[in-house]
Symmetry: C2
Subunit: 180 residues, 2 copies
């Protein structure tokens, strides 16, 4: 982190909570396609069949461009499209937080879905994600969002900017009960 930068006060902005307004504000947009997360779906035949025809965008992350250091908050918007691969809903990759293993809060903006969480012992639980509601996963819960509806699920995700994303543990446990 840039220690010199912290001599000055931090970022200051106000922006409406929509993907379009974030993009107008200069957000970095990352698109995740099925081919980039093919191993996460249970029905590999359905994945291959789909990819033979098309490589759909599963979700987009809108990341604000403000300069930040470890004292900031991440306040990114995700747009998770509706759809299924085999019997599974479209999902985000999911991740744990490492160093520190800290909390994430999700605020639904439009659409309906679930925050699927799993701890390192393998226990799985679900929280609903919907507009006007906060869904909160404290440290130790890896988390993945799934879109259970027919419209895009748009949500704000908030965590400390000091976290390191751990995608490997999430991919290994993959939000499934042990023994399945």
């Amino acid at each position: 982190m840039d220690k010199d930068k912290k001599q000055a006060p931090g970022a200051l902005f106000a922006v409406p909570l929509t993907p379009a307004e974030y993009e107008r504000f200069g957000a970095l947009v990352t698109k995740r396609t099925l081919s980039q997360m093919r191993s996460l779906y249970a029905d590999q035949a359905a994945v291959e069949d789909r990819l033979a025809r098309e490589d759909p965008i599963i979700y987009e992350v809108y990341e604000l461009p403000h300069p930040y250091d470890e004292t900031d908050l991440l306040v990114n918007i995700t747009c998770l499209y509706p759809g299924r691969v085999g019997d599974e809903y479209y999902m985000t990759k999911g991740h744990f937080h490492a160093r520190p293993d800290s909390a994430e809060a999700v605020i639904g903006l439009s659409g309906e879905g679930e925050l699927v969480v799993q701890n390192r012992a393998g226990e799985v639980r679900k929280l609903s994600v919907r507009p006007g509601q906060i869904s909160y996963a404290g440290g130790g819960w890896g988390h993945r969002d799934i879109n259970t509806g027919n419209d895009p699920l748009v949500f704000l995700a908030i965590s400390g900017a000091n976290i390191v994303h751990d995608y490997e543990t999430a991919a290994r446990l993959n939000f499934r009960k042990r023994g399945n």
Copy 2:
């Protein structure tokens, strides 16, 4: 902080973002009355005149009761009532963050107001607070909310749970330009 507690995964909940739902969920409610913050208003005659008649509640903070440690996020709702004392709008006490001097994000839920920020050099700026918008003050910006409308200003404030609130610096600088 309780190190033993962190052996287990952290809090897990979903709750609608309204004061009533937070209270139903067991939130701790703190009421701030004019007499508790009388020194913050510029027009001391107006303060004394008002207090001779009544001691109005200026705002209420709804704090979720989930157990937390320094890896959590604070996700409290504030209801700031409409009104004035002399020429000044009803306001929150305001605070800086100390150790670490980290960010705060405010998301408007209903009503209209402003997030007034001030750095330690005395510079003052304002951000609007309104429903569906995120207003963000990085580290180094003390912050106070004011209600500029006719209805209660209800907002969600988010910060790391590892912060220490510094009310003294905010009361000393008091969100006024130096020389005023």
